[in-house]
């Protein structure tokens, strides 16, 4: 399964990079979200992945009795997901605002006229 995850994260990164190289602002945002997801999976892989053993202590015991999934990557990813949501939400309304102002989804339209002829 690890190999499949490796493939998935590689493709998530590739798609993310491809999208941030486009001119559309929405695609830029989608690209950033994909890069975030790819990074989450990369972090997830850094601790060895374990099936069906969540890092939750059994209700009858005070310490782990069995092996358990690494809790640190999970804590990191949880933070990352939440923060990336803040970013996404802000970016979405920002895009709406930009669209209302310049009436375009094209990043190049944000350039000032003087800079365009460089």
């Amino acid at each position: 399964m690890e190999l499949l995850l490796v493939l998935v994260l590689g493709l998530l990164y590739a798609a993310g990079v491809y999208l941030i190289l486009r001119r559309s602002m929405v695609k830029l945002l989608l690209g950033i979200m994909l890069l975030g997801n790819g990074t989450n999976i990369l972090i997830f892989l850094l601790g060895s992945i374990t099936k069906g053993k969540p890092p939750v202590i059994d209700s009858n015991h005070n310490v782990f009795q069995d092996i358990y999934a690494d809790p640190i990557p999970q804590a990191l990813i949880l933070t990352a997901i939440v923060i990336s949501f803040a970013l996404t939400a802000f970016a979405i309304v920002l895009l709406k605002r930009v669209y209302a102002l310049v009436d375009s989804d094209d990043l190049d339209d944000l350039n000032t006229p003087e800079e365009e002829d460089i």
């Binding site: 939750v56 920002l94 895009l95 605002r97 350039n111």
Partner: protein, 769 residues
């Protein structure tokens, strides 16, 4: 001593609030400061002449060895007297010269600043302090050269001068720090005790090279000489003061100051003899081709500076004596000639010697001053110049090697040219018939012609009584440079010997050269043809290339397109990562350690990849947003499979929210435009796939690495014991790292505020394009 430095600085600052008053009614006070300082330093002459050296120390940054150490010995005293004495004349002169100029107050502000900096430079006994004042002189020189800031040539010359001297200062700093590190002290008077350590240190050539670069740039030695003729764009009093009498001699001062510490090696001797000898001959010849008075004087100044470097290079007792006398000789006659040139320029409006003649009829005392200076520069017996020239020949004739002939010939040839150039500047404008256009001229205000007359007259007085100035001043100057007794006795008559013959030959040949050399505009044009290959062209060409390069560099990297920045960043990262991965060796995979595949997982991955393809390729915004949420849910499922229930819940919530927001807010936007060409898309996909591949390889490498679990174990074991909870991920976030999470919440709050205000903000009609 400290107060003498501060006095100038305070005066400079006082000109800011009281500038207007100093322009008119108070302007008579301006020359007061240098006069007081001059008298103060005159009082030191008898004490220093008896062999005393004065020290003053004020702690500044003792922990770094940077202290306000001041020292007054023979060498410093000579320079202090030059700075304040000639300064007094210049201040009187400039007050009249610049009367009514709109920047009158500013000019004197710079001049005060310069005077203080120069005094600080020659009084410093700490090499870092010396460096600070060194840079201050460069900066004040920059302002004074560019004083006529409405002229492009003036601004350009100021930039050139600052670039060259600033660059030299940079090298000098490196050299000074090195020498301080090698010797372990920053006090100049202590350095001499470490002479052997420094001379035998492997870094000695480097130290010497760096200090030479500093001295050569400041004192306009070849190939850095070209800033000095350019610096003549400054008002004439500045040229007289900074660019002939004092500041340009700072490089000489530096060499003289370090003479006891660094000299005596072949490297010292031959570099200085070579550079100085070449500079003095090169610019002496150049001066003969000029028709602009200031230009002639600029080149003869360079030549004289070359002579001083040359003498310090020879480094024998006689050479040191010659150098210490020649500094004074040259300062006196050259300042006079510059001041005279200023008067001529001021009165006639031209400095072209082919147009000037017969001015002695209208400018009598000025002609007298010029004549005295020209004779001193020519070295006529009974002038101070004669003694200077004698000593130079004495020095070249007493070199203990087979170099005697060459050195003497170079010195004689240079002096012949200088005699002719001195006559060109000091005699030519004043003799002959007076053209009609100049008949109505009258003598300027006496504060302009008295200073040059005094300076010129001193050349004669010192020449007639050389023993007087020799015993009281030059003897101790030479001793400070030589760091020993030089047994100097200046006398007007040395007997009938080789030196006298050489002096007379020089005078005769120089006079002959003056009569046969007829400077003209064509000759200037001829000599300027060579400037295509001159150092100046190389330097300016190089500077222009840097400007062009940085323009192209900036335009390439900062072209205003976000995707182009992304592209460059990603390509750079790819390059770096590929290099690093290449170094780290092949990938190893242990298949036994991998978790087995199940059908659900494969199905989820296939759905995810399909959705990914749709996100990348769909023309519809809504489709891409929905596909995006499919990807999110697939990842959520994977978290479920691999024992991360908290992540799965968070991902599910967040993904749903994002999709809702996306659809609600961006529903109105048009569908994607296809803006890129096929070629661009192929290029971008290759870059993107490359990046993905690199990240996959990194992940594979990570898989092979053993995992350290101490931290995880700590949390696992103490979750219940310390934090009284059973869900370890929750405990890490809410308890162990609780403060981090709190700040994360703050970030979310800020984002929420941003979202809210952006949504609530109403568009003004003017904002709409």
């Amino acid at each position: 001593m400290l107060f003498t430095i501060l006095l100038g600085l305070i005066s400079s600052i006082l000109l800011i609030p009281f500038g207007k008053r100093f322009k008119s009614s108070w302007s008579i006070l301006l020359p007061f400061v240098p006069t007081v300082l001059f008298i103060y330093y005159l009082g030191y002459i008898p004490k220093v002449a008896s062999g005393l050296t004065y020290f003053q120390e004020i702690n500044w940054v003792p922990s770094l060895g940077v202290n306000f150490n001041l020292k007054l010995d023979g060498l410093s005293l000579l320079f202090c007297l030059l700075i304040t004495g000639i300064g007094t004349g210049i201040f009187f002169y400039a007050r009249t010269y610049l009367k009514g100029h709109p920047y009158f107050d500013r000019f004197f502000g710079y001049l005060y600043l310069f005077m203080s900096a120069m005094l600080g430079l020659v009084l410093s006994d700490n090499i870092l302090l010396l460096f600070i004042f060194w840079e201050l002189t460069s900066i004040s020189s920059f302002f004074l050269i560019g004083f006529n800031n409405d002229q492009e040539a003036s601004r350009k010359s100021a930039m050139t001068a600052l670039t060259i001297t600033g660059m030299g200062g940079f090298f000098l700093l490196a050299g000074l720090i090195l020498i301080g590190n090698v010797a372990g002290t920053f006090k100049i008077s202590e350095l001499i005790e470490y002479r052997d350590v420094i001379l035998n240190h492997p870094q000695y050539p480097l130290i010497l090279g760096l200090i030479f670069l500093g001295a050569f740039t400041k004192s306009a030695q070849f190939p850095f000489h070209f800033w000095l003729p350019g610096a003549m764009k400054a008002p004439t009093p500045v040229s007289a003061y900074l660019h002939s009498a004092t500041m340009v001699k700072a490089g000489i001062y530096l060499l003289a100051r370090f003479f006891p510490v660094l000299s005596g090696t072949d490297l010292w001797t031959y570099t200085l003899m070579g550079i100085g000898g070449f500079t003095m001959l090169y610019s002496a010849i150049h001066s003969l081709f000029r028709i602009d008075l200031k230009s002639i004087l600029a080149f003869t100044t360079i030549s004289a500076l070359g002579m001083l470097v040359f003498l310090l290079g020879i480094g024998t007792k006689q050479a040191v004596i010659a150098a210490s006398v020649f500094i004074l000789v040259h300062a006196l006659y050259k300042a006079t000639l510059f001041l005279v040139t200023g008067i001529v320029d001021h009165e006639t409006g031209t400095r072209d010697i082919t147009r000037l003649s017969g001015l002695k009829k209208v400018l009598g005392p000025v002609a007298l001053a010029a004549g005295l200076a020209a004779l001193s520069s020519a070295g006529l017996p009974s002038t101070f110049g004669f003694i200077g020239k004698d000593l130079i020949y004495e020095a070249t004739l007493h070199v203990e090697s087979h170099w005697i002939l060459i050195l003497t010939v170079i010195a004689v040839a240079t002096n012949i040219c200088l005699v002719a150039a001195g006559f060109m500047a000091g005699f030519k404008p004043f003799i002959g018939s007076l053209p009609q256009e100049f008949e109505k001229l009258h003598l300027p205000y006496k504060s302009m012609w008295i200073p040059p007359l005094i300076l010129g007259g001193l050349g004669l007085i010192f020449g007639l009584f050389p023993g007087f100035i020799g015993n009281y001043l030059s003897y101790q100057t030479a001793n400070s440079i030589y760091a020993g007794d030089t047994e100097m006795h200046l006398a007007i008559w040395h007997g009938f010997n080789t030196v006298l013959i050489l002096s007379l030959v020089t005078l005769a040949a120089g006079t002959f050269l003056y009569f046969i050399n007829k400077p003209s505009a064509e000759k200037v044009g001829f000599i300027e043809k060579f400037e295509k290959i001159s150092p100046q062209q190389i330097f300016t060409g190089y500077a222009n290339d840097i400007v062009k390069f940085s323009e192209r560099f900036t335009n390439f990297f900062h072209n205003g397109y976000l995707r182009s920045y992304h592209m460059k960043i990603i390509l750079f990262a790819e390059g770096l990562l590929i290099y690093k991965l290449w170094q780290s060796g092949p990938i190893k995979i242990v298949f036994d350690n991998l978790t087995p595949l199940t059908i659900y997982e494969v199905a989820v991955v296939i759905i995810l990849l399909g959705a990914l393809l749709i996100v990348v390729s769909t023309p519809s915004r809504l489709t891409s947003v929905v596909a995006m949420s499919v990807i999110g849910y697939c990842i959520c499922l994977m978290y479920v499979f691999y024992s991360a229930p908290d992540l799965a819940m968070t991902q599910f919530t967040i993904d749903t929210l994002s999709t809702v927001l996306f659809v609600l807010v961006l529903y109105k936007l048009p569908s994607f435009l296809n803006l890129a060409s096929a070629r661009e898309r192929y290029r971008d996909s290759i870059v993107a796939l490359g990046f993905g591949a690199i990240l996959s390889i990194i992940a594979l490498k990570v898989l092979y690495e053993p995992i350290k679990t101490e931290t995880s174990d700590f949390y696992g074991e103490n979750a219940y014991i310390l934090a009284k909870g059973k869900n370890v991920v929750n405990l890490i976030l809410a308890d162990f790292r609780g403060i981090d999470t709190m700040f994360e919440t703050v970030v979310l709050g800020i984002a929420a505020l941003g979202v809210y205000s952006l949504l609530k903000l109403r568009l003004k009609s003017s904002e709409k394009e």
